[in-house]
């Protein structure tokens, strides 16, 4: 190794290219925090509906605005990612699919499922809107 000691170095995070499994691991956490923040929108929606028609119209108006839709898109993608990767965590907890080839295949399964579910949701959503 590069330090001349012959001993392995731990990865230097600023120059070490993270493998996809590591990127997906931290993404699970980032989407989790993002979704927690996104629950504020859920609270607003429900409380506005309970408060009355004017408050509900304001909330629906915000959600239907460009910025609102952008937030909803990001939120839906994060939700599906966290859902799919969360199911993968449950599979790991059952002691299955822990070997590297399985992990690398399931990277693609989770990313593919997230993309398909997000796009499908928006096609259906915009069609019924």
């Amino acid at each position: 190794m590069a330090n001349g000691s012959g001993r392995p170095l731990s990865p230097h995070l600023q120059v070490y290219k993270l493998p996809l499994t590591a990127v997906m691991s931290i993404t699970h956490r980032i989407t989790g925090v993002g979704l927690a923040v996104g629950t504020l929108l859920l609270v607003w929606w429900l409380v506005a509906a309970a408060a009355g028609p004017e408050a509900f119209a304001r909330a629906q108006g915000f959600i239907g605005s460009f910025f609102g839709l952008l937030l909803m898109f990001g939120w839906s993608a994060a939700l599906y990612y966290h859902l799919c990767n969360g199911i993968r965590h449950l599979v790991w907890d059952a002691g299955k699919a822990i070997e590297l080839p399985d992990a690398e295949r399931n990277n693609k399964v989770v990313l593919g499922a997230t993309a398909v579910l997000t796009v499908l949701t928006w096609i259906v959503g915009l069609a019924v809107w």
């Binding site: 925090v33 509906a49 199911i87 809107w129």
Partner: protein, 131 residues
């Protein structure tokens, strides 16, 4: 391990009761339990949101007046906030190391989560009983 020859307590006796092996399993289990519950709840919620995009107030109220929808919405809110606060607790524990900051953040996140969950439940109950 350097053992003190002046004590009769075995190394196991010294170590017993130390460490964090008390509530860790409970926290881990509650995170898994809530995540399993959130799989069907999330699917229901996404379908519900899609079905009520741009819906008027009356349409939304009618949806929440159905006992099934009301129960599902209450469960979704409560389980989501329970899952969120337990996940955020782990994130805070991993990255915030000053004890008072860590405790303040964890307490703040838990209080806020349960307050927001209560607000959601009250909103659904208010709509359901038509108050």
């Amino acid at each position: 391990m350097a053992s003190n020859s002046k004590t009769l307590r075995s190394p196991l006796q010294v170590a017993r009761g130390l460490g964090s092996a008390k509530h860790g399993t409970e926290h881990w289990w509650s995170q898994r339990l809530t995540s399993i519950a959130l799989v069907p709840l999330t699917v229901w919620f996404v379908f519900g949101v899609i079905g009520h995009l741009g819906a008027g107030h009356a349409e939304f109220i009618a949806w929440m007046r159905s006992p099934f929808s009301a129960v599902m919405m209450v469960l979704t809110a409560v389980v989501t906030f329970h899952h969120a606060q337990s996940g955020l607790q782990v994130v805070i524990e991993d990255y915030v190391h000053a004890e008072w900051q860590k405790m303040a953040l964890i307490i703040g996140v838990k209080f806020l989560s349960f307050a927001l969950a209560a607000a959601c439940v009250l909103a659904v109950v208010k709509i359901f009983i038509g108050a």
